[in-house]
Structures are given as C-alpha cells and as structure tokens.
Symmetry: C2
Subunit: 347 residues, 2 copies
C-alpha cells in the first residue's frame, strides 16, 4: 500500500496526497478530507526511507555515549529520545564501551544512515575518530571538547561553580584535609574537575597536598581502591570529594567495610548527581550536573544547527552550570578532641 493507492482511491493525484499528509495549507479542505478518510481506512502511513531519499533529510540524529550501562547515561538517553520524538526525529544510539573500534563503526553506521547531526557524549574520548563526520559537515555537539569550527557546537560545563560550592561547604564544616579522587586524567572532563578542585582550594588559601589527590577511574571499584589508598595517609583526610558519584559510592562501600562511618568519621561528596545518589546510605551530597539539561541542550544545539542556513564560523557554545546538592554525607569535621558531633542526617 503506497501513496498511489491512496491517490487512486481518493480520486486525487499523488501530489495532493503528499501535500495533505504533510499538511500543506493550500490543499482544498474537501480533497484533504477525502484523502484522510482513505488514509485512515487503510491505515496508511508514509515510508520514511522514501521520504528521506527524496528530501535528503533522514530525520535521524546520532547519539554516542561512552557506556550505556554507566548510570550517568540512561537519563540522557531517555530525555534525548523524548525530545527527539516530539520533533519527529529518530535517534541512533551507540554505546562505544570505550572501544575505539566501536566508535569507528558507529560513525560509519551513522554516516550510512545519513544522520543529520550527532551528539557526542563521551567526555573527551578520541574525538579524532569523528573526522569522517567533520569532513562531511555533519552538525556535531560535544561536551567541552569540541573544536571551534562551523557546525560544531559545544556545551561548556562550568565545573568550577559546583566544585567551589562543594569545597567551601567542606571548609565551612572545618575540614582541613580534603582529599580528591579524580577520574581517569586522560579524559578532559576528569582533568577539568580536578582542576576545579585545585582552584577552589587555592581560592580559600588551603594548601594543596598532592598526596591527597589520587586517581580513580570513575567506577565503584576505582573508588574503593582509591579510598584504600587514602586510608594509608597520615594524618587521614577528613573529607573526600570525588570526580563522580560512582567513585563516591565505591568510597562509601570501602568505608563501610572498614567500619568507618559517613559522615561521622569523614565527609563525602560526589559529582554528577545520578539518581542512585539519593538512594545510597547515607544519601550522597553531590555536585549536580543535570543529565536532563545536558540532553536538552545537546538536542537543541543539533536542531538549531540543522535549521540554520549559514553556520557560525566558530560553532556555537552553550553553558551548563553545576551546583551542590546537600544531602547527608557531609558533617562537621571530627574535632581534635571532641568526639560528639553529628551530621544533619538521622544516623
């Protein structure tokens, strides 16, 4: 069943059917009605492939994430998909699982399907693999790391804002020895967070102790290992700031195993504010980087680029703030003598 069939039955031309379906306003209402009637009766709907072929517009956006099984991403996917549907776009997701091979093949697939734009949510991983896309002037949106060139948008994350709040929050609670568990430092987003930490410390005149900065890998296991490291420091830190929530959860886990209590024995702050952060024990104080907002910005960036005639020569920038969300994993630093001090939490 195709557009010709509809045209025949409605006794109009295929052009009229096409116009009707695409809601072109110049169609005579009476013809339109006839067309819709037949369309409904037959349950007809257009073939997207044919449409895409002739119009040159696939109405597909690509979405590359580094790992869908990382709790940070599902929310992004969800929101991105939601908005896409509203705009009649389809989305091609690929989870690269940190393998360059996968990245390569997914770029290829996206090119083959003629995506109109791609959101790259890999936070700094191997963008060189995207050369094919750039070459073909496919609109791209990156987080932080995109080059300044036409058709490439960037969502700049203001890491410092939230991290500063976190550091000052800890300082206000009289923490002097604040540790930082970073992500893998070859990722720009991880390096930027660490830098935010260092800057924030400097701003308030707290000396930087490199021994209190350990590298994790943004996983629970990494957080556990990092905290084990930190336990060997002397004196131990009284607060730990983590580069992401998964790391913080790893720290929590290790601390429980060791019988060290949060926030009584030390305070803990995460980063990202994944949904799970509310559900760990104690609920995790963390720097929020809204996944929903990120997805929205990314989609809008692509949509705008697709609709725009003359691309900005340096691309476009968007901004996303981060900010501290207080929960129950932070409290006053354990005083040198006092043993009685309580956090805001129940425990």
């Amino acid at each position: 069943m195709d557009i010709r069939e509809i045209a025949k039955r409605a006794r109009v031309s295929t052009a009229t059917v096409s116009r009707t379906i695409n809601r072109v306003s110049t169609v005579d209402p009476r013809l339109a009605k006839r067309v819709w009637k037949v369309v409904d009766e037959l349950g007809y709907f257009p073939n997207t492939q044919a449409r895409a072929l002739v119009s040159g517009r696939s109405r597909i956006f690509g979405l590359i994430v580094s790992e869908i099984t990382n709790p940070f991403f599902p929310e992004i996917v969800q929101v991105f998909e939601n908005i896409a549907v509203q705009h009649n776009y389809e989305i091609l997701i690929t989870s690269t699982a940190h393998e360059p091979k996968r990245m390569e093949s997914s770029v290829r697939r996206m090119l083959e399907r003629r995506v109109e734009g791609v959101a790259v949510m890999t936070f700094g991983m191997e963008e060189s693999l995207l050369d094919d896309l750039k070459l073909r002037n496919v609109p791209l949106v990156f987080v932080d790391v995109g080059p300044a060139r036409p058709r490439v948008s960037n969502i700049r994350i203001d890491y410092l804002h939230g991290i500063r709040q976190a550091v000052q929050h800890l300082a206000a609670l009289r923490h002097q020895r604040i540790a930082f568990v970073s992500g893998p430092l070859h990722l720009k987003s991880a390096a930027a967070r660490k830098e935010g930490f260092v800057t924030s410390l400097k701003e308030i005149g707290v000396p930087i102790e490199s021994g209190l900065m350990v590298e994790g890998d943004h996983t629970i296991e990494g957080g556990m290992k990092a905290f084990a490291d930190l336990l060997n420091k002397n004196p131990r830190p009284t607060a730990v700031l983590c580069s992401n929530d998964m790391t913080a959860i790893g720290v929590m886990r290790k601390s429980y195993e060791e019988g060290i209590r949060i926030p009584d024995d030390f305070s803990l702050i995460g980063f990202d504010d994944i949904r799970l952060a509310q559900f760990v024990l104690p609920p995790l104080t963390t720097v929020q980087m809204s996944q929903a907002e990120l997805a929205r910005l990314a989609f809008q960036a692509l949509l705008k680029e697709v609709q725009r005639e003359a691309p900005a020569p340096q691309g476009t920038e968007y901004n996303l703030r981060t900010s501290l969300v207080l929960r129950q994993s932070t409290a006053l630093a354990p005083g040198p003598k006092s043993t009685a001090r309580k956090g805001r939490g129940k425990r």
Copy 2:
C-alpha cells in the same frame, strides 16, 4: 557522491559497482579491484535509505523497553546493540516510560521506519498496543507474554527454578517465616514470580502466610515501603525475598535506617542480578536472570524469523533459566535463644 560517480571513475556500470560492493562473486576480480580503488579514494559508502527502499529491507530492529533508566535495561540495550552491529542491523530504541501514549507512538515510528522485527521488553505491559505490528506481520519477540501466532516468538523465563533455589536456600538456613515483596501484580512477570514463591513454599511444606506477602512496585521506594509494612508483622519475618533487586535495595535501605542488620537480623534475596547487586552492602544474594542472555535470545529470535521463509504457525519458544547467586545478604536464621551466629560475609 553516489554510485554513478564511482561507476564513471572506475569505467564500469553502476550495476557492477553495486555487485562489487555487495560482494557478488561473479564480478571479474580486475573490475572489482578498480571499483574498490575508487571507493577507497573517494571514501564512498552506500546510502542506506536508497538500499532499503529498493530492497525492501531496512535492516532495522526495534527494541521497546519499559524504562531505560531502570538498571535492568541498559545491559540489555548494550548487548542487543552489540549483536545488532555484528549483523549489520541498526536498532531503534524506545523507552515507553510506562506511558501507553509513548508505546503507541513508538510503534508508529517503527512502522514508518519499516523495522524488520521488534523485541518487546516491557514484561507484560499493554501488548494490545502492538496490534498494528501484529497486523502487519512484523516479527515480534516477547518475554513470557506473547500470543501463540506466526512470526511471534516468546522467551519463556523459568522463574520457578531460581526462586525454588532461593526458597530452599533460606529454608536450609532455618528460616521459617519468609516474606515476599512482589512487583506490581498486574504485570505478568511479577505475578509469575510470586507464583513461583508460593509453589516453592508448598513444595517443602511451609505454610503460606498471606500476611507475609506484600505488593511492591519494583522500585527502591516501593521496597522501602513494603519493608516498613513487614516490620509491623508479629512475629516478624526472618527472611525477605524480593521480586526484583531494586525492591531488595529499598528493603536494605529501610533496614539500615531502622538499625536492622543484614544478614544478622534477617536475610534478604533479590531477583534479576543487576550489576548493582554486587555493590550494595552487603553484596546481595539474588536470583539471576541474565540480561545478556535475554538480549541474545531476543536478537536471535528476530534474526531467525526474518530469515525464515515459512513461519511456524504457533511461533517459536525460547527458554531462559534463572538461578540463585549466593552473596552475603543471607545467613542462618536468628535462633530463638542463641545470639551468636554469623553469615558467610565479612561482617
């Protein structure tokens, strides 16, 4: 740049280019070589839309999940996508977020994109919305709930197997009062789990106490609420089996808040074995239903159906076993007098 361009430059016809690219064996190796050379030089690759249009095969499978932000699903998506890529298929994901509207629109989108098959991972939610797909004989694969008709496959989950192991494990640890927190009972998969629990209890002659079976909703919050309920029972249960891991995590959370220890004060078993189950404290003993295997089976079912000429009149069935994974959330039931008994865990 299109196939004609390649043909011209390689001094062959477009048909030969097409055959070469599709690796038709009858092409003269020398011509093929010429073609490949040009293809490589120009970085040409075929337009999938055009291909799909003429061949009638989109090489797209749909994947409908009930909620991508539910930790059960990302792994399925990941594995499904992986296999799809290997077979040169693309996948169209939709997360219905439990809204019938979304389900409807996603079915529509899939039809428009001419998907060759759809995997429905919503565990019993509103399959009537899929009528359009059935009508058009699109191969479908369900978990548990599909109708027996041509082109519809079903993955039957052997819930009983794993649940029986769980119940017997608890019984062996001398638990007499075993509670069950179910999922939303209008979901067939949730009802089946509960039924497995009841059957397992009967098999070993333990009387069923309906007061110990409470309905949750497969979320952390639901688990917390359900456990609060259970706390009011007298005497309290010494073990709780949950319909999924999220529920169990809710139970854990509530119990921590109440200062009730696992497994010392009571034993807890989940269901699903999501990755997080290993990382909660204590690591959760749970009934595994392999998400990777589920994804594999679903993909294979679709692939087979697509390749098959004459569909089986009653569809095809696949089976997935469940089985208990021992971790550290279970231990001997607290004896009536003894206070000293320890689980297998460190704690």
